[in-house]
Symmetry: C2
DNA sequence: CTGAAAGCGCTTACAG
DNA sequence: CTGAAAGCGCTTACAG
């Protein structure tokens, strides 16, 4: 029966077909670039489309094909450059395969809780990439069981995952620092939310382990929120006492304020003050920060590739796992 | 005719109806919380849903109702806290009205270009909120003409807009600074992309105008990219020559490195060094930065409210425009 | 190459 | 309160 609300009637494929004097099937074929259409017929249809200002209805298409060509990407809040790189890599693969990404950043508590309520969004997409938040358990409950999920930066026993060996990265930093004849500090982030990623702890553990093996130790660990305000304070506290020391930050992001404070206090960064970050963010390249390079771009590409293959049913294994190796990049700090 | 790819047959509303021994209409009514369903019938249906693990298909629902209950929010790249606040406000209103937000941050060039190609996403939502990027002209071309659009932080002659009087905000800062007997500097961001917002320039112009009116002037304007790395350098350059000055930054974001450098160099911020930001971001509250407060949260709420009303056809005017007034908040800097 | 028609999985006015 | 059926706007196997 006709709609309740008498909405403005949209131009549909039927209108185009009538106007062009062809069947709707033919219009559909033109729309989908089906090569088996006579070029004159095609032109007639194209003209009709333009004339009528026809815009296809994606919902009808999705219902009919059973595919949305949409991928949800769930991330923690989007501070820093990390996500920009990761998303660019993901987008690149997706676009190449005819998909678009739908962002779902968990930038506040309500977004976490809203995840279930927004299940509508998760149910509308052909696949899901989850980065750095342990929501795989949550998802299991209400998404379509046949919807593929790929986890990035975190392990999962239910889904495929692409991770970096953060522990090993910590070891690399530890090995590098163990030769320095100075006090060793760590500036890192403490998990404040149950669902937050554990990568910082893994990096710290590797670092610690390496130093112990070499008969060294960490002189002090500073825990800060993931912002610069507090890190400035910490840096000033450190440098007011120590004019000579080595500092490992579990992400480049936290290395920046430390280096800036050191420079402003006219300490010799790279000589008296050694700093090693983690991630190799663009900022680390700009400021020439020594760091443990994480293949962020590769992670994104691999994850997206994997997801596409899953969607197309081109993978048989139950759960795939990629573990990428980080590497030490020595620069000027 | 049956589907080409023999996909795993999903559980549909029909399966549930059969299992529960009712009609599909009744199942639909239960799904939509229609009160005109006998409680026993309802329970039978609910049981069947649980038993079968039924999950409704949102595409079918959207095709049928003609509504997606989705709103696209287009923003520039999501650095800083501004977007977090704005989005929280928008989400709050949307959720209350049964909508979800779909984020579309233009975090790289490709995203700008992809906007048209991703028209699928834009065509799937009931309304669009555009913040800080002049894409309204672009949109006009390929979204549904009846889809409402609300612009935030920017004017538009085609669509509704919610803006802050940035020029006036600049005047407030200028009036405040004109009493200071010190050199006056400005640190601001120069548009690097055609579609970028013009708010920084508007703030600067207001500032300039006010000072001129008071017979004062800006001693130097420093243009920086919208990141901290370069601002540190600028700050060090300023403070190596001037131990006493007043600095207006066209966003709080840029005030942070300046204050940190000043503090690290042991200058008296708030006394010898005056700093006034713009926006009143959380960081300005934490670091007690004097600033021009922008009602970010209100902007988000007003914009979302407006959009919902447009969608429901509850507005007659052609184009609505809200201009909010910023205010000076004097804190310790 | 092309048209007529079935089908995708919902919602809802209609008639009990 | 409830079922049968039309309709939402596409796609695609089928039969020319």
């Amino acid at each position: 029966m006709p709609r309740l609300k008498q909405k403005i009637r949209r131009i549909t494929i039927k209108d185009v077909a009538e106007f062009a004097g062809v069947g709707v099937g033919t219009v559909s074929r033109v729309l989908n670039n089906n090569p088996h259409v006579d070029s004159k017929t095609r032109q007639k249809v194209l003209d009709a489309i333009k004339k009528l200002g026809y815009i296809p209805n994606p919902h009808a298409r999705r219902l009919s094909t059973g595919e949305s060509n949409l991928i949800t990407v769930i991330t923690p809040e989007m501070k820093g450059d990390f996500y920009q790189i990761l998303l660019s890599a993901i987008d690149e693969v997706l676009i190449k395969n005819g998909y678009s990404s739908l962002l779902y950043p968990l930038y506040n508590e309500r977004k976490y809780e809203g995840l279930k309520k927004s299940s509508d969004i998760l149910l509308s997409t052909d696949g899901i990439i989850v980065d750095g938040v342990s929501v795989d358990n949550i998802l299991k409950g209400f998404i379509n069981p046949q919807t593929p999920v790929v986890c990035v930066e975190q392990d999962s026993d239910k889904y495929d995952s692409v991770i970096v060996d953060n522990h090993y990265g910590g070891i690399l930093a530890g090995d590098y620092f163990s030769d320095f004849d100075m006090d060793i500090f760590v500036v890192t982030h403490r998990k404040s939310h149950e669902l937050e990623s554990t990568v910082f702890d893994e990096r710290l553990e590797g670092f610690q382990e390496s130093l112990e093996r070499k008969g060294r130790g960490i002189d002090k660990i500073y825990y800060v929120p993931l912002d610069w305000e507090s890190t400035f304070e910490v840096a000033r506290r450190i440098f007011s006492r120590y004019k000579r020391c080595a500092i490992f930050t579990t992400t480049d992001y936290l290395a920046v304020p430390i280096i800036e404070v050191a420079r402003t206090m006219e300490l010799k960064v790279g000589k008296d003050v050694k700093v090693c970050g983690f991630d190799d963010l663009p900022i680390a390249q700009i400021l020439e920060i020594t760091t443990i390079k994480q293949p962020i771009y590769d992670m994104g590409k691999i994850a997206a590739d994997l997801l596409i293959k899953r969607i197309n049913g081109r993978i048989k294994e139950k759960v795939k796992k990629y573990v990428l190796k980080p590497e030490l990049v020595i620069r000027s700090t």
